[in-house]
Assembly symmetry: C2
Homo-oligomer: 91 residues x 2
Amino acid sequence: MDNKKIEKISRALSDASRIAILQQFKKKKDCLYCAEVNDLLDLTQPSVSHHLKQLVDADLLIPEKEGRNLKYVLNPKVLDEYIACLTDLKD
Amino acid sequence: MDNKKIEKISRALSDASRIAILQQFKKKKDCLYCAEVNDLLDLTQPSVSHHLKQLVDADLLIPEKEGRNLKYVLNPKVLDEYIACLTDLKD
DNA sequence: TTCATAAATTCAAATATTTAAATGTTTCTA
DNA sequence: TAGAAACATTTAAATATTTGAATTTATGAA
């Protein structure tokens, strides 16, 4: 994982709303629908869409179309790679 | 570690210069002087000072005064706590 | 086909971040 | 004590991010 990628993931994680979104996955087991995020957090729909996009762009979430709905699943692989880079920083 | 702290650390890590600074610790073994950062990276002195401040504010670096110089050491404890939070996100 | 719903995009305003120049503070040394 | 060196702070400009309102696109249902 190169520095650009580390930077992008870190930035994706550097916002209270996005951290809250990721934490919802623990409660909802694996996947989350766009509309659910809307209900669970006090954010407008465009704002949710914007935050989800950043998480997807950082590859932390994988979007899956389900007809009219959009389901997101967590990408543990990228999270693991990111964690490995951070671990590596500690000598 | 609360969400505010996760946000702060993530933000500290979301900049190319600051990632580069942290990576210098691997080469320099444990500690780094302010002036060294200045030489190693192509940044002005106020810019280095600003970036180091953010890393210190996030507790990723611990500053230690040595007379006229300022020595920074990596704080592996906070990094570990941060990593633990990220690991926890993966269910 | 038409309407309703889910989500993305566009746009503008508010706010935050990055950067360097100028200046200030602290501490070592002559 | 005076000057120099190391680092911090202030300020301003450029840029990026966040947010919501309005609009658009895409899909499912009647």
